[in-house]
Assembly symmetry: D2
Homo-oligomer: 206 residues x 4
């Protein structure tokens, strides 16, 4: 294989990219100047060097000169340490942050648990979550764990799985376990939502 | 125009149907037997004769032999008369009913109010709603009005419009005015919802 | 079932219409005036009375006062009787007519032949086609049969089926059997078409 | 901006990629091992070094050790030098090659000409095309120029533009100028194509 073919193959590994579009990426780059391509290559090589995983929440973050081991949220003294929101992945955290509504801390589980998964503890960071909850309960007075997952079978199964495992700890430390509220989301037309959504929208009316 | 063309034109008035599909309807009917077409014509002629508008909630309902003036929901003695849910149209009511979560009464407003609408009281049954609320407050002990509209600018504008107009009555009769709760709806993935939805999902966590 | 439910069920038989949209049709009609609904019912009842199947090409046509048995195309003295285009259904004929490019006659086969179909002669009007070709060859000097079908496995199978059955007649009467030409169609971008389309586009270059 | 943000911005320049998906690319890479990322960076840096533009047809090609200046098609002694197919871009050429139907040479114009374009000769390689046609006519006995462009206004405008400019040369060297044939393409259903497509499908029937 030549470079065009190899690069096409590598690009086709990116999420959502098929062979046609990855070929189009290569031709696009061939028409760009050297500077752009060199920058792109350099950024790729810097990526793993500069980006660390936060020791507390597992979030990816770009290290700055001070060599810190925590992401900017975990390092922020103004965040409310009584709340810990568990999410599946970085992009979920970013969307919650964008809303500006939540000022607590996060924990990135690293995935979701499929319904018939035999070894869920090897798929997601559940052991580390337990340790984090234990430590935070002792040190920072953790009061609530918010499970923030997509509303689909795998997301709901993950919440169920975490709840069961965490419940002894929750009892021990008087932690509240909650899940994001359900109801009508922006853009929903009333004639379409399923019974579960209507039920929650009715319950959460205000 | 011949019958094929006239019928095509009539079918193209149906919601969501363009000229091509309405032509396809006509050819479909030409291939069906006479019985089906005659039944269809007969049902159309019966429709307006047998279907009435409920005197209480404005819902369309098929009259049975007893000649009642109320739909089966308004006539049902087991419905909770303390709650009145205001919806835009029949299909919205049906979707709420399908969820099985609500046991109160309904009021069909007959549409929504566009944001720059100059004469909203000519577009929706607001005067009749006021009268209904007044009567129900006196007679049946109405306690809550639930505004159940689609989560889009026109739906929200309609809820705002009703709230303002109803508020003196709400004060007078100590009525609670509520809106369906917002949050994650079934199928929502956490990385996509807008800030408003996340905010409500957080507020309504449980 | 009441009239609303029965009518919803009837509408849901129309091609491409599900239960939700057919319900929407019923509510739309309930909001229309009686006149529209009565016209619609009347047109339905007239449909089968006024529309006949052309004795020559099987096309549906609205009969006028003169009581003719042929559609306006078959009755048109200016059409070229040397060419017969075989199509699957009325809508295909209409699209070819709309192009204004063809001035010959048509034959509507009444469907297509699925690839594993055991009794194709019971699915499409093949026997009647043979008879038509025989008669037209004798009387009007038929010279060419044009097979005009969709370019998909079932369309191609149908053309293959007709070709095989018609070939003895074609030999006997020196008829040319042709199929619509293939190539790039309007809107096609050159990077997408399959090999067969490119092959034909190259062969038919001009 | 940190590395994550810079890389996200660079990826969002790729054709068809928005900010969300480019972010997803970055997180995907963060979860991959170093080896994959290093290979990707290396391939990017090799791309411009190893890929040349063919001196004859302008196609991008990966140079092999022999240091040739022509792509494998232009260098292939078995290609028919009497035909030159002009296409807009590399991906179009590749799709024609994939069909296996064409054995002549190519010329990549480098784009298409928008309908109101004032300086088309600065947008596409028309001057170089003229020179190529002139040289090929003298040296290799060029007989036909095939214009192979997408069937849309811009593609047709480009073919028109080339035809006009090339016609004196075509006259001088008795060159035939052709365009890819039009007709039904794979997957086309007969009830949909526009008049132009039907017209060509009828003309190219076979």
């Amino acid at each position: 294989m030549n470079t065009i073919q190899k690069l096409t193959e590598h690009f086709s590994k990116l999420p959502g990219i098929g062979p046609r579009q990855s070929k189009r990426f290569v031709y696009y780059l061939l028409r760009r100047d050297n500077k752009f391509i060199e920058e792109l290559a350099e950024l790729l090589l810097e990526l793993k060097k500069e980006v660390m995983v936060c020791a507390l929440c597992n979030r990816f973050f770009a290290m700055n000169s001070s060599g810190q081991k925590m992401c900017n949220i975990c390092a922020d003294q103004n965040r409310d340490t009584h709340m810990l929101m568990v999410v599946a992945k970085d992009i979920d955290l970013e969307n919650v942050e964008r809303s500006g509504v939540y000022n607590g801390l996060y924990y990135i589980l690293g995935g979701t648990v499929a319904i018939l998964e035999k070894n869920p503890d090897q798929k997601v960071r559940i052991k580390e979550l337990i340790k984090t909850v234990e430590e935070r309960s002792k040190k920072t007075g953790l009061k609530e764990i918010i499970l923030a997952f997509s509303v689909n079978p795998e997301g709901e199964n993950t919440m169920h799985y975490i709840s069961e495992i965490i419940s002894p700890l929750a009892l021990k430390y008087s932690l509240k376990i909650s899940a994001l509220g359900r109801g009508l989301s922006t853009g929903t037309e009333l004639e379409y939502p399923d019974a579960e959504t209507i039920k929650n929208a009715f319950k959460n009316r205000a």
